[in-house]
Symmetry: C2
Subunit: 213 residues, 2 copies
């Protein structure tokens, strides 16, 4: 029952590309960060619904598959859900359409109360105005013994890391330099001292670094 983080970052540690817009909510550079991930068979099946069997099947795909395994609940910030982009739309249901890929309870950290959203595939979004530690307690109950993922955005992940609440961090480092955007590592000096760190490189050039307690 671990608390997990998985992020795509650049060589310079950018996890949130600059200049997100409603049309490109993850920022124009998101494609540079995630090129290897979105090419995997797992991403194509799980997120795009493409069951044709296409996509890469190497190390990047193994990490992509692990991403979706064993997570019983997720926590995300209001920005990741889209409330900062569409603050005045009471019918906003997130970026993911009718089949959000989470298939588990998602707790959205938000000071603005909203009714819980529930989808047929098992995904629900519950909006909670609580501290990271309190959100984690609720997510752990909902996860029923499975892992809890801290999904993002970057600021929320950093809050949980600084609070010492995360058991495992996996970063996929794309071999690109973005130079602008939100950095993961700031104010996390000597983070590695709390973890055992391992790394391996994929055929795509992506570097997978894992911090585990």
């Amino acid at each position: 029952m671990a608390t997990r983080v998985d992020l795509n970052i650049s060589l310079d540690g950018i996890a949130s590309p600059a200049d997100p817009t409603p049309d490109m909510p993850m920022g124009a550079d998101w494609g540079l960060l995630t090129a290897a991930y979105v090419s995997t068979r797992t991403f194509r099946e799980r997120v795009l619904g493409d069951t044709s069997g296409g996509g890469t099947t190497g190390l990047d795909d193994a990490y992509a598959a692990a991403y979706f395994e064993g997570v019983g609940a997720e926590i995300m910030g209001a920005g990741m859900f889209g409330l900062h982009s569409f603050p005045d739309d009471p019918d906003w249901k997130g970026w993911w359409g009718d089949e959000p890929p989470f298939r588990a309870p998602v707790f959205v950290l938000s000071h603005t109360p909203r009714p819980t959203l529930a989808f047929a595939n098992g995904t629900s979004f519950e909006f909670v105005a609580v501290t990271p530690a309190e959100a984690l307690e609720r997510a752990q109950v909902a996860a029923g013994g499975q892992d809890v993922r801290i999904g993002g955005g970057t600021g929320v992940v950093r809050d949980f890391l600084r609070a010492g609440l995360v058991d495992q961090v996996h970063v996929s480092i794309a071999p690109v330099v973005l130079g602008r955007g939100g950095r993961l590592w700031d104010d996390l000096r000597l983070l590695e001292s709390e973890y055992t760190v391992t790394s391996e490189t994929a055929e795509s050039g992506t570097i997978h670094v894992t911090f585990k307690r």
Copy 2:
């Protein structure tokens, strides 16, 4: 006849640890950045003069050996030579004692003229008040067909990178987060687009990333 850069950096891109002092000119965190490198047999032989045959002999050592191969001249900044730490000492001869490990002509970028220093092992330090491109031209002549290394510090390396003067960049990324100090990657957005990038990981957890034209 390539122009090369080799640097030790942290996961958060710190190449110059914070708070250098005359006693610890590379900063107190330098040991965290270079633990794998200084453990190699090559470092122990070449820099420490330890010919006992100790030290690691894996991938980190292969990169350490490559570091010293084929370099016919080096360029460094005044800070790396030590002129910022000891500006008033006309007899300052660098940090490296009587056997500097360069064994080749070194051009030190400095606005303060000093007489050239020559050592018995083939190392010389010539102080030049010129632009990066001019320094590179002089170093290429001195290198006699071998590679030129841009040694550091971080600011000098970044000047050469931004000027498009570097053919190959090798960074050894230590799996540590320093959180403070001089960052390599700032203002180098999309640096990778000028290079082919490869990466591999060593037994130590160090990630070796190479940019080649």
